[in-house]
Subunit: 238 residues, 2 copies
């Protein structure tokens, strides 16, 4: 065993997850680099090295705002990634060294996750940034270990939702249809659910409350809206 | 804002929590240092800097085993602590620099937490180490920000137990009495519970199963044992 201590750089990376009604999506930013004299274009999570006097949570918020324009996103630390293999691709190391004017060997990143509602507010805030939504089931090869970080964030969401289904409602609009809720369960847990059974199960959830309001301007029969009731939910926890 | 990048060392710290039947305890190790020409004695979490080629999880397991003798402890990352103020006490910096023969400025630590059963097995494994159990409600001032890390681990346990009470049973013996379970709820949530009400609530938990067996060799009326049924528990999650 090599007993020398690790000399590292520290970064933060933000995994912002949303639900577009059909699929889970993650917020990525475009990256342009140069390797072997040729320009390349790919994508990465919004993230960067932290500054000298900066707290971790402050760094995550700063970096997300600088790269995407988003503010007040409920970022939560979920795991540090520190494998030596994070910098196995010279392309990533060269890109970072050019961007940071620093020699880079090992980079430990503190990963944050946020669940957001994809809607008008967030779409407006993203305007003019290099950020874009990409479906998590159709990701290309990303920079560093960002595919792995996103996979871990999805595991985190899935495991969290098993014991605490309330987290899922952060991904839905405030008013949602049974089809939206069922589709979200399907994509989070990677299963196909029977619509009638799911509806029956949903009616047993005292925290999913039917509204009087229905969808408007749809070609099919207008579906009823439901909302999540946090107080009723908390009473179901023993 | 100072735009220079943070140059840091990385460590792991392990917060091993147990329940002694009356109180929550944390596993600490004794530290001897010298400051201003005088020897001092205090305590810290089992932790250390990670090595150059070492993965984070491997480092946590190695350090815990080296310092406490414990193996196969279900350590889970729960948060990175990276504030500049972690090294505000020169005593800590000097101690670490002597121990590591390295100049230390900022140290980011990846904190792990484990919930264990305090019993014969763990007591035997700890023999001959510098580790000891200390009640979390009577901690002295510890090294670095270790009081803060323990407080955060307790919050993590408390918040986790609200949505997923099954985590609490990792702290109890496999067979437990209603008094033990009630006391654990009391110390985790910092409340005093009425015994009769708690018993009634417990009988509504389909996953707490009464055994035929009762306590042996006790002065008071022998209490019945219960066990946690993970399968029954999983069925209660909607």
């Amino acid at each position: 065993m090599d007993n020398s201590l690790a000399k590292i750089h520290l970064s933060v990376d933000c995994t912002v997850l949303g639900f577009n009604g059909n699929r889970l999506e993650v917020l990525l930013i475009r990256r342009t680099g140069e390797e072997g004299g040729k320009e390349f274009h790919d994508m990465k999570l919004p993230g960067s090295l932290i500054l000298d006097q900066e707290e971790l949570d402050d760094a995550a918020r700063r970096v997300l705002t600088e790269l995407t324009g988003l503010k007040n996103i409920p970022l939560q630390q979920f795991r540090a990634f520190g494998s030596m293999s994070r910098t196995k691709d010279p392309k990533d190391v060269h890109w970072l060294e050019r961007a940071q004017q620093a020699h880079v060997t090992r980079i430990v990143t503190v990963a944050y996750v946020a669940l957001v509602k994809i809607g008008r507010t967030i779409t407006r805030d993203l305007e003019g940034s290099e950020a874009l939504w990409v479906p998590v089931d159709a990701l290309p090869q990303l920079a560093f270990d960002h595919n792995e970080i996103i996979a871990a964030a999805l595991d985190h969401l899935r495991n969290g939702a098993v014991t605490d289904p309330s987290v899922l409602y952060a991904l839905l609009p405030r008013k949602f249809t049974v089809t939206q809720l069922r589709t979200l369960y399907e994509v989070v847990f990677g299963v196909k659910l029977d619509a009638a059974n799911f509806y029956k199960k949903m009616t047993q959830m005292p925290y999913v409350v039917a509204l009087e309001e229905r969808e408007k301007g749809v070609a099919h029969r207008a579906a009823r809206y439901f909302r999540f009731d946090k107080n009723a939910y908390n009473k179901t926890r023993l």
